[in-house]
């Protein structure tokens, strides 16, 4: 019985694709690769087999700094109480055109 797993020395990369010109790169998943060049090639083979992308970014997962995932986190509180940042905060009569 093989109890000790063969440790993959290959780090994890997160993959981002630009689906077509005019769109942002979007996160699509991750993969393991020995280095960034290999990560790009694997990303092409894994995530663009059917023309899903015109540009690929790969980023070492260890290099990403992320906010806490909890939506109720106070991290986002500063934007929660500033309703005046939204156009709907302002009452404008219906008969004012083009507004």
């Amino acid at each position: 019985m093989d109890e000790t797993p063969v440790r993959s020395e290959w780090p994890l990369y997160e993959v981002f694709l630009r689906g077509k010109r005019g769109l942002n790169h979007v996160h699509v998943g991750s993969l393991h690769a020995a280095d960034p060049q290999m990560a790009l090639h694997h990303a092409r083979d894994l995530y663009t087999r059917r023309n899903e992308g015109v540009s690929i970014w790969v980023v070492a997962a260890a290099e990403i700094t992320a906010s806490s995932p909890d939506e109720k986190d106070p991290f986002f509180a500063p934007s929660g109480d500033k309703v005046y940042r939204h156009p709907t905060f302002y009452d404008i009569p219906d008969d004012v055109p083009h507004m």
């Binding site: 993959s8 991750s30 995932p69």
Partner: protein
């Protein structure tokens, strides 16, 4: 940042339950109950293993495909199965699972894969029948999983379902072509259908009254329909397809029930299912041994690539990345 939530016992669990109740998605690094995490890792890993092992029955036929067209299609399909496995291992890793560990569990028999891949592929008609019936059953199972409560799994399933549609259609087209051929070719299609029909019905898992985890899985939104519901849906979809193809499904009890609005079908041999799951199917040992050999024989490639990357990184540190052949950031 989470210290605030931890101050109040039960609040994390309440937030999790609330997310599920609103049919919102759970995302990586969200707090989840240990049992939810374990269930999701097991479900996703089992699915990933099925895709990877699922390359073998059809991969057998790549070198013996009857034409260049069929060979290109089959290679693309088997490559898709590898891709599906990778999407799923990637999703499992967002829950804290380790890919090398999952592979070790597969090759040592501690984690399962779908029982269907333990049946042999005896003729080229099996390639077509796998596309039609096995991938058809997989689609039935997987479309509802695009709404799984676990976000990364749901998103992987969306990609997979799009690609499975090609798999099913290429299989059905292959069978239609064979059915237009000789009597011997038609007999091959019927024989393959006879062998794969019942194992395909088993892909949906045991009957509802023998599936103890279904209630919890449905409450968590990681399962959207019961095994029997999906099995019935598959039968209803497939009977007219069989008629159009001109093959007979090997079940004398198969008949339309106007009062139920569904096809009635005969009893599945659950003893066979249990035996295959426990490792006594025709190909269990062969499938796992083949996977282990591929993994072991690839070890030097993984090590060489890691050594090359380490050497490259060391050289970049010494003389600066701009001076190497990899410095062409464009």
């Amino acid at each position: 940042m989470t210290a605030l939530a931890e101050d109040r016992p039960g609040q994390l669990e309440a937030h999790f339950e609330d997310t599920i109740a609103r049919d919102r998605r759970i995302e990586p690094r969200d707090w989840v109950p240990d049992r939810y995490r374990a269930t999701m890792i097991r479900q996703i890993a089992q699915h990933a293993h099925s895709e990877i092992i699922g390359m073998q029955p059809e991969g057998n036929w790549i070198t013996r495909a009857p034409s260049l067209r069929r060979k290109a299609v089959l290679i693309a399909k088997v490559q898709d199965e590898a891709g599906h496995g990778m999407y799923l291992y990637s999703a499992a890793e967002t829950l804290g699972a380790d890919r090398a560990d999952l592979t070790a569990k597969l090759v040592s028999g501690r984690q399962k894969y779908s029982s269907i891949f333990n049946y042999p592929t005896l003729t080229y008609a099996d390639v077509g029948v796998i596309g039609w019936l096995v991938d058809g059953a997989a689609i039935c199972n997987q479309v509802p999983l695009c709404r799984s409560s676990y976000g990364p799994y749901a998103r992987a399933m969306v990609r997979i379902c799009k690609e499975e549609s090609f798999h099913q259609r290429q299989g059905y087209e292959l069978l239609m072509t064979m059915m237009r051929g000789s009597a011997a070719q038609r007999a091959m299609v019927q024989d393959a259908t006879n062998r794969f029909w019942w194992p395909s019905l088993m892909m949906f898992g045991p009957p509802d009254d023998q599936s103890p985890n279904t209630a919890q899985s449905m409450a968590w939104g990681v399962k959207r329909h019961t095994n029997d519901e999906l099995r019935q849906r598959f039968v209803d979809m497939t009977v007219p397809q069989a008629g159009k193809l001109g093959v007979t499904l090997p079940d004398p009890d198969l008949s339309w029930s106007s009062e139920r609005g569904h096809y009635d079908f005969g009893a599945v041999d659950w003893d066979e299912f249990t035996a295959v799951v426990k490792g006594h199917g025709p190909c269990n040992a062969q499938r796992v041994a083949h996977r282990k050999d591929a993994h072991d024989e690839g070890a030097w490639v993984r090590e060489a690539a890691a050594a090359h990357a380490a050497k490259q990184a060391a050289r970049d540190r010494d003389i600066g990345p701009g001076n190497t052949e990899h410095g062409d950031a464009g």
